[in-house]
């Protein structure tokens, strides 16, 4: 009975959030699909014939991490921030709805859209750079890594969205943090090339470990897949924990 109510509530919150796409479908398509597609296409044009298979593979991992980081951190952070600061949360929390159903509903929107995102990019990049068969061989593992990284990004977005003190602050923080993650994840370039402080910082990003494990999976690096997967899961759990803890159903 209770489980059924939580599932129904999650579904309703999910639907309510998806409904927002009706009025924002064009910007969504641009950000989630056209931009990354255009990006891969431009790169493949610019480096036609010059780009090696390994470089192309790195590029693909990089583009995916960039896109996930931008869309999830901004999406979750701003969504939760707005709900809380515009007091929509107060309305929802006055209903017999559990905070778990709320965050699950909101996150599922982003999980689904990042899944679509990853699939589109894998196929478009894979075809454009002629590495599709290489990617498809490890696709389930790759997808799992990226999904876990997405959960970590949801956690980071939630940390911002549940603690920022104003909307401008929410927007600034989500933009800065998503940019930092996109830049400091060693996706386009080997981690060894990074200056030490940034290298240390990058160790705390779930995307770093996802990217390194993914590169090994794809045969363009000799990183310890198990070790990085463990780090990925650990970091993701920590960020999720602090993100979810910030959701207040009972204000102090």
């Amino acid at each position: 009975m209770r489980v059924k109510k939580v599932l129904t509530d999650t579904y309703i919150i999910l639907i309510i959030n998806f409904m927002s796409l009706r009025t924002a479908i064009i910007p969504y398509i641009v950000i989630a699909i056209i931009l990354p597609l255009g990006f891969t296409y431009l790169i493949s044009l610019a480096f036609k014939g010059m780009i090696t298979v390994d470089a192309a593979t790195n590029m693909l991992v990089g583009v995916i991490v960039l896109s996930l980081s931008l869309s999830i951190i901004n999406g979750i952070g701003q969504n939760l921030g707005q709900d809380r600061l515009l007091k929509r949360l107060e309305l929802i929390a006055s209903y017999p709805v559990s905070p778990g159903a709320y965050i699950l509903g909101v996150s599922t929107v982003f999980i689904i859209s990042s899944l679509i995102n990853v699939i589109i990019m894998v196929f478009s990049g894979g075809i454009a750079w002629n590495i599709l068969d290489r990617v498809l061989r490890v696709f389930p593992q790759l997808l799992s890594l990226l999904l876990i990284a997405s959960l970590g990004l949801i956690g980071i977005g939630a940390v911002i969205g549940t603690r920022s003190s104003s909307l401008p602050q929410t927007y600034a923080l989500t933009n800065i943090v998503s940019f930092i993650i996109a830049m400091f994840t060693p996706a386009y370039y080997p981690i060894e090339m990074m200056p030490t402080p940034i290298r240390i910082l990058s160790q705390f990003l779930p995307t770093t470990h996802a990217a390194l494990a993914a590169r090994s999976l794809l045969g363009v690096g000799q990183y310890d897949i198990v070790k990085h997967t463990v780090f990925l899961v650990l970091l993701t759990s920590i960020y999720l924990f602090f993100g979810l803890r910030g959701i207040k159903w009972y204000e102090e």
Binding site: I16, S20, T23, K87, Y95, P96, V97, E251
Partner: protein
């Protein structure tokens, strides 16, 4: 008769920044009554309602709503109450129908029931014309009506309305008042927070006056009016101002000129019949036009808050 559905004891809320928003508040609400929390901006009305709704943790005290210890179990109370928050927290990208329908689902209604109740609330609240429009495109007053309507989804036993008629035009306010009365007739207990005296005066069975987080008065409108003593207000055109002040000095009895604004004078007369009669006879004999008024809640409130702030100084 005295079936208390809400019991609040020694409730105190001090915010992190040190603001004492509620100070040692105790009261009971009877099943089926309209109970109003009345007070000026910042009195602590919203703070009180949020604590009663299981949304805000009190600093100390106890709250029992429909048998549920709200402080120990803040989520359980949500099965019995509906809240219309003060600020229209609206989801702009839903249509009016969807807004009501999905919140009905969150209330636990089946899709059939949610659809039915949504349609009936849409017609009850005069929203038919806007049924399929995005709520974000509607005026503040219309958005307010949706949030108020939403509080009646799922026929909760207890409905909290925090300033339900802000942004509404006079016709809209009266319309909402009549709907509130209808629900009361059906047995719903209503807790209303408002700073509108007329709203409280028209709707409430009992009123709790709040000022600076403290209870100033509690009781029925008649009880509260008695608190400040029995008196009558006589309003006279300011044109007669000088004549009146001179003459009031001469006739015996206690009179107090409460207001000497540009256009009128209010004379406060103790409620004893002969005192009032004396003054009225006098005014008639002088052919002075006047208006006789019983004290309004507003007068009472002003007087009570005045006493309260004097007490604070001493």
């Amino acid at each position: 008769m005295n079936n208390f559905i809400i019991t609040v004891k020694n409730l105190t809320k001090i915010y992190k920044n040190g603001v004492k928003a509620n100070v040692n508040i105790s009261f009971n609400i009877r099943e089926g009554e309209i109970f109003s929390i009345l007070g000026p901006n910042g009195a602590g009305k919203t703070t009180l309602i949020k604590q009663l709704a299981g949304l805000l943790k009190p600093t100390s005290g106890s709250i029992i709503v429909s048998g549920v210890d709200v402080i120990r179990n803040p989520n359980a109370v949500k099965e019995y109450i509906s809240l219309c928050p003060q600020e229209s927290a609206i989801i702009e990208h839903l249509t009016v129908f969807e807004h009501l329908y999905y919140f009905g689902r969150l209330k636990g209604l089946s899709s059939d029931k949610a659809r039915k109740e949504t349609n009936s609330l849409i017609s009850k609240f005069d929203l038919k014309k806007y049924r399929d429009q995005y709520v974000g495109s509607l005026s503040k007053g219309l958005q307010r009506r949706i949030i108020v309507a939403q509080a009646f989804l799922g026929s909760s036993k207890i409905v909290y309305l925090d300033e339900p008629t802000t942004h509404l035009d006079p016709v809209g306010r009266r319309h909402v008042w009549s709907i509130i009365r209808e629900y009361k007739k059906d047995g719903t207990t209503i807790l209303l927070a408002t700073h509108f005296m007329d709203e409280a005066e028209r709707l409430s069975d009992r009123i709790l006056f709040l000022n600076n987080g403290r209870i100033v008065a509690l009781g029925s409108i008649r009880d509260i009016k008695k608190l400040v003593g029995n008196y009558v207000k006589i309003r006279i055109d300011a044109y007669y101002g000088e004549e009146i002040t001179k003459l009031l000095d001469r006739i015996k009895g206690f009179y107090k000129i409460s207001k000497y604004s540009g256009s009128f004078i209010d004379i406060i007369v103790p409620g004893e019949d002969d005192e009032v009669e004396k003054l009225i006879d006098f005014l008639i004999s002088r052919r002075i036009e006047f208006e006789l008024r019983m004290p309004s809640l507003e007068d009472v409130f002003l007087e009570l808050s005045e006493n309260e702030s004097k007490k604070g100084i001493n």
